[in-house]
């Protein structure tokens, strides 16, 4: 396939716009790579997880659960919940990409990440008829995809050389702490998060890690209740 000049130009603009996001992503990818092998995945599995799942927060979130040998369905349910923000992105992006072929839509779905979504949503409106905006999205996403694969691979191979006593898998929990902080943007979310933590801790003795699911349910319920009672509607 030969690309038109306009396609190459949009691809390049997207790539340049998201290059600045790499600064934040590369250290994060290295930590994720180290944490994946420290948590017990083989090197091949850790690399495969980055390629196939391609979702940093979910990749880190499942590691503490993998270590305590949680059942598969609990880990997959957690993957779903941690990735629920993508449902919102998908709804926002759908009108932009509705005219594209099915393989294009599948590719753009697979490769969606937070940073490029934010750049794209700030730059284009759904009613924009710009015929090359999906090339912009693809260019930005490919930069992030390559950055993620390279940085997690570095972590995977470095992680295999680091002694087990250093407990570097704990870095995944620390990464989640860094990740949750910007999510706590209003009172309802904060109260919901407190409730989730308290219930998860109180119910830690339940079998099948049901404490985790109980914590999530309690967190959502408390968040909704606080938002309803709060005088300033968020």
């Amino acid at each position: 396939m030969r690309l038109h000049d306009e396609q190459v130009s949009a691809l390049r603009q997207g790539a340049l716009a998201s290059a600045s996001l790499l600064v934040g992503m590369v250290p994060w990818g290295i930590v994720a790579g180290v944490a994946m092998v420290s948590a017990g995945l083989t090197q091949a599995q850790a690399v495969a997880m980055s390629v196939l799942v391609f979702a940093g927060s979910a990749q880190l979130a499942v590691l503490p659960l993998l270590i305590v040998k949680a059942p598969l369905w609990v880990i997959l349910a957690t993957t779903l919940v941690v990735n629920l923000r993508y449902v919102i992105y998908s709804a926002v992006l759908a009108p932009h990409f509705g005219h594209l072929s099915r393989p294009w839509r599948a590719l753009l779905s697979y490769i969606t990440v937070d940073g490029v979504f934010a750049l794209f949503a700030a730059r284009f409106r759904p009613e924009d008829a710009d015929p090359y905006k999906h090339w912009f999205f693809l260019g930005g996403s490919l930069v992030m995809w390559c950055g993620w694969q390279v940085s997690t691979s570095i972590g995977v191979f470095a992680g295999a050389m680091i002694p087990k006593e250093w407990s570097l898998e704990f870095a995944s929990t620390l990464g989640l702490i860094a990740l949750v902080m910007p999510l706590l943007f209003d009172r309802a979310v904060v109260w919901g998060a407190f409730a989730a933590g308290a219930v998860a801790l109180a119910a830690a003795g339940l079998p099948l890690n049901l404490g985790l699911l109980a914590g999530i349910a309690a967190g959502v319920a408390v968040g909704l209740a606080v938002a309803r009672l709060s005088p300033t509607k968020a």
Binding site: L72, T78, I88, A91, A171, A178, V180, A193
Partner: protein
């Protein structure tokens, strides 16, 4: 089931879930809008899930509560919360939390 086989099933399942949440509106080419209640639940759930993973991971040791200065994960985790709140930097949070955790681990003799 062996650990390696479990790992592959996990990766396959996660790949399917991670693809479906991103494709749910894009792939069918849907023009549906999310109802506001759904949008709110989607806002609270991820923070709740992350905290529900973090807290037991730092406050339990071998399945029982370990709310004590002798628990290095708790000390490192609390330090990380403070660093994250103050700096909003992922890198500083991980490096700082890991340093405090390691120091606490050595002092606790583990």
């Amino acid at each position: 089931m062996g650990e390696v086989a479990f790992g592959w099933m996990l990766i396959t399942g996660m790949a399917v879930v991670a693809f479906l949440v991103r494709a749910v509106f894009i792939l069918p080419g849907s023009r549906l809008r999310l109802p506001p209640t759904a949008e709110r639940v989607l806002r609270y759930a991820p923070a709740a899930a992350l905290v529900a993973i973090i807290i037991p991971d730092i406050a339990l040791a071998h399945g029982v509560w370990a709310i004590s200065i002798d628990n290095p994960r708790l000390i490192g985790g609390l330090a990380a919360f403070a660093i994250a709140a103050a700096t909003r930097s992922i890198l500083l949070t991980i490096v700082g939390g890991m340093l405090v955790f390691t120091l606490a681990r050595i002092l606790a003799g583990g």
